[in-house]
Symmetry: C2
Subunit: 424 residues, 2 copies
C-alpha cells in the first residue's frame, strides 16, 4: 500500500493540510474513528466509513468569493487547502434551471432542475471523482480505477488524464456506445466484464485485495469515503443558487444511494454552520421499476434491501444491490419523503417532457427523477405549492438509444418542396 | 413583419431598454446606421450590419458581481436590461482549462483550452442563440429557425423550448446521429434538406422572403446582427479568466468566420473600456483541409474567398462559402496571426491528444484548432513562449463516428481471467 505523502511546508506559508477540514474517518454504525487513510469499512463492525470534519471560517461571503466551480466549497470538502492550484477537472456550479414551463404543465408553484449534465464529462460523477483524485494524489496511488455503469468510467478516464494518473476502469458488457467512447477516448484501459454492475463491483473488491492492485486507487471502493463526499456539493449549490435557502422538496435518483444520503448530509451541514435558516425539507428517492430494490423495501415497510437483477433502460441507476439503500430509507423516513419508481415507458416520456418544456436533454436517470416527480404529484405525496428541486444527473447524449427522435422530414432544398410536404 | 414590442415602464423603476447598451445597427462597409430592427444587410451597399453600442458603467467589479453565466456581460451585449429574469438557456462562463500537460508535450510555456462544450447544449452556439432569443422576443417572432450544420439546430431547439417559442430548424441531410437527436428531442420541427449547408442557407433566405416565414426569426439570417454578438462573450471570458489580461495568441475555428471577428471585436472593446491593459494579441484561424476556403485565400495572398464544396469530418465547420471570410483575413492580417488548415487524420489525432493529455473530449472542430496549434508551432508561426488560448467549440459526444475508441478487452468477471488477458 502506498504511504501518505507529506506536503512540504515553509515557515513563511501556512501549512497545506492534505485533506483540508477533514479530521478523521468515522464509522457510520459504531462511531469508531480512524486516521485519514485509504480504507472504507470499520474493522470492528464492518460499517461504512465516512469523513468527519472540523469546519473553520465558513461564511457565505467566503464561498461567494470562491471560483465558479466546486472549489468554492473547498472548506467543506476533504481536499487540500491548495486544491485550486492542482490539476483537476474542476466540476460543479452547474445550472439550477428555473423550470416555470414544466411547473405550469404540472400545476406546481416553484420547480427547479439541478442540471448536472453541465459538468465536464456531463454527469454528476465529475463531482465525486474530483475528490477521489485529490485523495489518490495524497496516498500516492498511480492508477485510478472504478467499477462503473458508464458515467463514472468517463469521469475517471478524463480526470486521470488531466491529473496525470494511469487509469483502468471496469464496466459491465453491453453499455451505451456514447458511454464507452467517452470512457476510452482519454487513453486509459476500459475493461468490459461479462456480467452486470454487481459482478463488476465484486471483481473490483477482489482486485483491490490482490497485490496486482496495490497501487490502484479504486475511486468507489478504497477511496469511497473521500469520493462520496463530492455529492454534498449538490446540496451546497442548490441552497446557494436558491439564494441561501433550503428547498422544501428534493427528488434524487438512487443507484448505490450514496448521493441521496450525502445531499442530506450537505443540507444538515449548511444548517449547522448557520449558512441557511433551519427549516424542514423532504428528500424523495427515485428508481426505475426494473431496478427498484429500495423503492420495494420502502413500499413494503422493510428496513433491509432485497437485491434484484436489474432490467431497465436506466443503466446508470442499474445497481441491484445498493450499498447505501438502508441509509436512504432512513433519510426519506426522517425527512418525511418517500421512495418511488417509474417504468421505462414513463422514463422516456419524462425525458421528452423535460426537453420539450425546459430545453434540458436528460439521460435516463433524469427521466427517472422527472417521472417520479409526476407520479408523486399525482398521488398527492408531493406538495405542488412547495419549492421543489429535481436532479438531472446525466446527459441525454449518452443514452441516445433510449429515446426516439429524428428528423421530421427530408425534402429537396426548395421552398415549393417544403410547402408541399405540409411542414408549415 | 412583426413590430417591435415596447416594454411597459413604471415611474418608480428605471426604463427597461430592449437591447441594453445597443444603440443602432451599423453597416460594416459604409457605416450607414439603422434602427434596431430585424435586418441584416445595408440597403445602400449590401454590406453586413452589426451592432453599435453606447456602453455605460462597465467595470471589472460590476462584471464580477454578476451571475456565473453570460449575463455577467449583459452590459456589453444587445440584450434587455432585465435579461436575467427572462427564460433563456443562460450559457457561458465555461471552463478555461489550464492545459499544462498538453503544453509540456508541445514544448509550450502557457496554454489554455477555452472549453465551450460546457454550455447547455454543449457547443458555443448556445451563446449566439441566447442573443437571438432575446431579439426574437422583442420583435414578436413566434417561431425560431436557422440553417445549421448541427450544433446550432440543437441550441435553437433547446432555447425555443425553454423560452416558449415554436421552432423549425433546417439541416443538411446526413448529419451525425447525436446532432439530429439533440435537435429533435426538444419537440420542434427538424427538416433535413437534400444538399449541403450552403444549399440550406440559400433555402432559409428564400423562406425568409416568403409570406410563410414572416413571423419567423432566423437566428443566423434576419437576427444575425444580434446573434453574432454572442461570440464576443468568449473574448470577455478568456480575458477575465486569465485575470483580466489579454492572451498573446488565440486559435479560433472558422465556419462562417463570424466567431473569429467577434472575438477580435470583444478584445478591442475590453481595451477601449480600460478593462484590460492594451497590448498586442494575435488571432489565428483554423479550418479543415476539406473545407478551407479562407486558409486557401490566406496562403495565396488573396482578399476574396473562392467558395468550395466541403468534404471533411469537421461538419460543424463545413461552410464552403463563409460570409465573414474576408473579415477573417483582415483580422488575422491586422493582428499578425494567420489562417491554417489540417487534414481529417490530423483532426482525429488531435482529438485524441487533447483527450489523453487534458481530459477534454472535443468535437471535430476542437480537433481542427488543436491540429492547427501543432502545425503552426512546427512551422514556427506560433510563439511557444507566448500565452496561448485554443478554442474547443463543441463536444466529442456529438461526433462519435469521427473517432475510434472502444473497450480494451471484454473478459469474464474473474481476477484470473483478467490477469490471463494481460491487461495489467
Amino acid at each position: 500500500m502506498a504511504t501518505i505523502a507529506t506536503e512540504p511546508t515553509r515557515t513563511d506559508q501556512p501549512t497545506i493540510r492534505s485533506f483540508g477540514p477533514a479530521a478523521a474517518l468515522s464509522c457510520r454504525e459504531c462511531g469508531e474513528r480512524y486516521d485519514l487513510t485509504p480504507r472504507f469499512a470499520c474493522d470492528f463492525c464492518f460499517g461504512p466509513l465516512e469523513i468527519a470534519y472540523d469546519f473553520e471560517g465558513i461564511t457565505r461571503a467566503a464561498i461567494e468569493r470562491g471560483p465558479a466551480n466546486i472549489w468554492r466549497y473547498a472548506g467543506l470538502l476533504p481536499v487540500p487547502d491548495n486544491v485550486r492550484e492542482l490539476p483537476n477537472m474542476n466540476p460543479g456550479l452547474t445550472p439550477l434551471v428555473q423550470a416555470d414551463r414544466l411547473a405550469a404543465e404540472l400545476g406546481m408553484r416553484s420547480l427547479h432542475i439541478k442540471d448536472d449534465s453541465g459538468n465536464p464529462t456531463h454527469s454528476f460523477k465529475d463531482r465525486v471523482v474530483a475528490m477521489a483524485v485529490e485523495a489518490a494524489r495524497v496516498f500516492g496511488f498511480t492508477t485510478l480505477s472504478c467499477s462503473s455503469t458508464g458515467n463514472l468510467a468517463g469521469a475517471v478516464g478524463a480526470a486521470a488524464a488531466r491529473a496525470g494518473f494511469k487509469s483502468c476502469v471496469f464496466i459491465p458488457a453491453g453499455l451505451e456506445q456514447g458511454k464507452i467512447v467517452m470512457a476510452a477516448i482519454y487513453g486509459g484501459r476500459v475493461v468490459a466484464l461479462d456480467g452486470n454492475y454487481d459482478d463488476v463491483n465484486r471483481f473490483c473488491s477482489e482486485l483491490m485485495g490482490d497485490p496486482a492492485g496495490e497501487d490502484w486507487g479504486f475511486v468507489n471502493v478504497n477511496l469511497r469515503p473521500y469520493y462520496a463526499e463530492g455529492s454534498k456539493s449538490l446540496a451546497y449549490e442548490i441552497a446557494e443558487q436558491l439564494g441561501w435557502r433550503l428547498p422544501d422538496q428534493v427528488i434524487v435518483p438512487i443507484a448505490s444511494g450514496s448521493q441521496l444520503t450525502k445531499i442530506d448530509k450537505g443540507l444538515r451541514e449548511l444548517i449547522q454552520l448557520g449558512l441557511v435558516e433551519d427549516k424542514p425539507y423532504r428528500i424523495f428517492g427515485a428508481q426505475a421499476t426494473g431496478c427498484s430494490p429500495v423503492a420495494q423495501a420502502w413500499e413494503s415497510g422493510y428496513d433491509v434491501i432485497q437485491p434484484v437483477k436489474p432490467d431497465t433502460i436506466a443503466k446508470s441507476l442499474a445497481i441491484g444491490n445498493p450499498a447505501d439503500g438502508p441509509y436512504v430509507l432512513d433519510v426519506c423516513q426522517r425527512t418525511g419523503g418517500a421512495v418511488a419508481h417509474v417504468s421505462d415507458a414513463e422514463i422516456v416520456d419524462s425525458i421528452n417532457l423535460l426537453a420539450r418544456t425546459e430545453g434540458v436533454f436528460a439521460e435516463t436517470a433524469g427521466g427517472v427523477t422527472t417521472g417520479v416527480l409526476r407520479k408523486l404529484l399525482s398521488q398527492g405525496a408531493l406538495d405542488p405549492a412547495a419549492e421543489t428541486v429535481v436532479l438531472n444527473t446525466g446527459d441525454g447524449l449518452k443514452t441516445l438509444n433510449a429515446v426516439e427522435a429524428g428528423v421530421t422530414a427530408t425534402v429537396p432544398p426548395s421552398l415549393d418542396a417544403f410547402k408541399d410536404a405540409g411542414l408549415l
